[in-house]
Assembly symmetry: C2
Homo-oligomer: 516 residues x 2
């Protein structure tokens, strides 16, 4: 099954033998992922276990993500605020399921100063009366503030977002996908009715899907998590699920309907219009720097990162080519001039981001750096190009490159970027389509997912739509095969069927996959 | 001395007796400050000692500060990145002065999970091999990465900025001015020569001064800190110092020339063009949410916050006024239309931010909320105003309000905002001028600063320019009077004189003040 796995490399059609990234996706997908990150200089490991340093090229992608998401949050009526990093341990104790979900991965602050240890070093001193934990998420802290801010129905709704760092002490980490500290946004809202809170939960899932599909060029399935996969303390968790090139699923964002769980744990009460006291209804929703991992694994090839133009730190790079100082002056002037002209063009509501790379580095080395960094359009300009008033242009999503006149380039550059954006999305959609299957028997399900022994293998995988029922039988098979229930698609139509694990009647298919 | 202390209130000329903020600046300045924050809904204390919640109106100011500063950093060739929150304790041990400066206020993480304590609660578990501290600043962490990134002179300069939260466990906190956790940016750069590092240090001080004067409308003195006031580990610390309305000084930003201190502690070495190995030269510089405190204390009056337009979350608020539903529909339509028209006007490179406040709240209450929030221009629009195709306009920096035609408003609104911005700056400059003094004897110095017993009193204070020499005698007097050496002004001309503390010869005056 699953005919297409990898996208063709940019240079594959040119009979190039050596790839810029080694190993290739086919040879070792997890290691290829690390090498793409390294090759594009996106991030690296830090001296602190499980924490990474996000370098300028990686952070530039995050800044563009923040810019767009922040605008979308504000358009839907949310305001930003900032809440404390540290949460008293006792706050976690108030909601049993929440504790269960996070207690095992909390960084705990127990002291508030250091003192000499008598051997030339330091030791912790000033023990705290109550330990504080570094926020793994902020429902409890923000909830405690909401309980003060909400008195009357007139105070509702409250729609807050926070951009922040959070900490979940992970035992097995992988850059961007799973790190002990990560950056994210967490939305927290309070409403007078369950209907309104549900609308908010769905609206924010739509915002995420819109962003991930139209900016990241990553197609997603909108769905609801099964009971065992819910956020700790949530009544319902909505999710968007994407397929990576190794056909594994990645959860790209979640939006939680929290019901009255946290309002009861933290006394978020209000006086209704009719004068009686009611518990409020809350939601929370978040996406994180994990999205950068999803972006890398969806679009990149064996030559490195491929960036969707709408999130690229630079849309275009210009490399001047010259033999001597006389040529250099002329070429650089032409390049600067073109850079200015391109920068005056508006793309996606902001000026085009154009890098003029005039570093004293060999042309070949420079070109491969730009390829590995995934810059959508590369321009090389030498004396010959200038004579024709043009440039040599290459697109990161295609193998071909060609001479282009300056006027043509200026007139078409936005269209070309839109084409690249659409092309990346389309090939991801088609890869997902080719690797999505309806399966109607347990035997086929087992055969499809194999033994589960080699979980990093890309030989097997994809999305399986199958009838199901919440049952020990299902979880036993999933555990054995290292497969997870991803979501019940919101768009899925009712369809009579039989659970492949138990034979019970079922009305909707669920998406199963190996996952990150 | 010091004839002018407080700015006149917006409504003072109208013989209004009651102020919107109680107590007034005159009655109790520190408490007035807290009440301005509360009245404008900028922030409030959190359940965690010394940590505050920055609410949407306060965070909106910070977002505008970030937007402008970030653009200025990028214009001067800096890139953003992100480094880990947690720093191994051993990193601090490497630089003796740095430890001395920060060890007493470090939050220390010692465990990485929580477990049931057997009594229904939780306790820390999973002790770490080495304690981690929450960054009080990131020289050591970023330096350890620099030591990997810097190999050759070709790798230099590296110019990085980070937007982040930091933690300094303070015993006595005050919202925005001194909190255990705060938000800031920290710039970190590495250079091949001391000259280049010095240029960077000065350039970033200029960027800060430009921002604080031209965006915050707060005049500053650029100067160098004396030895005892330097950043722990720095060779030189440059500072910008501002005068608050109680005539105390507030350090608004610092830029540090770190020499080779950190490059030697962390082995940031490079091969020079001639092939020998050299230690690099580093700088660091930062401003924080403390700037919001400076902004509040510089401009606000006894009716609450006064915002410089360039940083106001909203430039204009429109309050519709109507008697019944028929009027309401007509008035709201007119207001929405005007809001759209005003929003299409560009101010300071972005669209005007116009709030239409159609909440069902009494007109008087609403007006005072807008006054306390410091919105630069308030418009009230009722049926009578619409008949004249205009609005009733009030400026937050003046006592008068008047009818204005719509066409006049639209044509002049940018000019009016520029006027308000200039007006706030001018009155702060003039207040500082009136409260700056040259003093040439210890007796006058003592008389000016009084006994120092009542440090929160605004009865005494201002900037004193006096000849000085670094000496125990000086520090003894300063300690007694609770006065601090603020800076040696960079613009100060050489001038022969005598140290007022020791009688030693001196060539430059230093600025002394009580301070935050």
């Amino acid at each position: 099954m699953g005919s297409q796995v990898w996208y063709r490399n940019e240079f594959q059609s040119m009979n190039q033998k050596k790839t810029a990234i080694s190993p290739t996706r086919q040879e070792n997908y997890p290691e290829w992922y690390q090498q793409v990150i390294r090759g594009a200089d996106l991030a690296e490991n830090s001296p602190v276990r499980g924490c990474m340093v996000i370098k300028p090229w990686g952070y530039g992608i995050w800044e563009n993500m923040q810019y767009q998401l922040d605008a979308m949050f504000k358009e839907t009526g949310h305001e930003n605020a900032y809440f404390p990093l540290l949460i008293p341990m006792s706050f976690l104790e108030k909601e049993a399921k929440h504790v269960e979900g996070f207690a095992k991965e909390c960084a705990v602050v127990t002291h508030h100063r250091l003192e000499p240890n008598g051997e030339g070093g330091l030791r912790p001193a000033g023990p705290l009366d109550e330990p504080l934990i570094i926020r793994p998420t902020s429902e409890t802290m923000i909830g405690s503030m909401f309980s003060k801010w909400v008195q009357s129905y007139r105070d509702l709704p409250i729609k807050i977002n926070q951009w922040a760092n959070v900490m979940r002490w992970e035992m097995r980490t992988r850059m961007f996908l799973r790190t002990s500290e990560f950056l994210w946004q967490e939305g927290h809202t309070v409403h007078a009715t369950d209907t309104e809170a549900w609308e908010e939960t769905r609206q924010m899932l739509d915002v995420y899907a819109d962003f991930v599909e139209n900016y990241m060029a990553v197609p997603v399935i909108k769905g609801e998590k099964t009971a065992t996969e819910r956020f700790p303390g949530a009544v319902a968790t909505l999710t968007i699920e994407a397929m990576m090139q190794d056909r594994k699923a990645l959860q790209a964002g979640t939006s939680h309907f929290l019901g009255q769980t946290f309002s009861k744990a933290q006394e978020i009460k209000f006086q209704s219009e009719t004068g009686d006291e009611q518990f409020a209804w809350t939601t929370s929703w978040g996406v994180s720097t994990r999205l950068i991992g999803a972006l890398i694994m969806t679009h990149s090839d064996d030559d490195g990162l491929v960036l969707p133009p709408r999130l690229a730190p630079k849309h275009i790079v210009i490399s001047p080519i010259y033999r001597d100082d006389a040529q250099k002056a002329q070429v650089l002037e032409y390049c600067r001039n073109l850079q200015r002209e391109l920068t005056s063009i508006c793309y996606d509501g902001r000026p085009l981001r154009v890098l003029l790379d005039d570093r004293d580095v060999r042309g070949g080395e420079k070109k491969w750096q730009h390829v590995r960094k995934g810059i959508p359009i590369r321009l090389e300009i030498g004396a010959r190009d200038i004579a024709q008033d043009g440039a040599f242009m290459a697109r990161r999503d295609q193998g071909n490159s060609a001479a282009v006149s300056r006027s043509e380039l200026v007139a078409n550059v936005v269209k070309i970027l839109d084409e690249i954006q659409a092309n990346l999305f389309q090939r991801a959609v088609s890869m997902r389509t080719q690797n999505s299957h309806r399966i109607d028997s347990l035997a086929d399900f087992r055969e499809f997912f194999g033994t589960g022994e080699n979980e990093d293998s890309a030989e097997q995988g994809g999305f399986v739509y199958a009838h199901w029922s919440e049952s020990d039988a299902m979880h036993a098979v999933l555990k054995e095969l290292k497969v997870t229930p991803r979501c019940i698609p919101l768009s899925g139509e009712e369809e009579p069927g039989t659970c492949i694990f138990t034979g019970q009647p079922s009305t909707k298919r669920l998406v199963f996959a190996k996952s990150y």
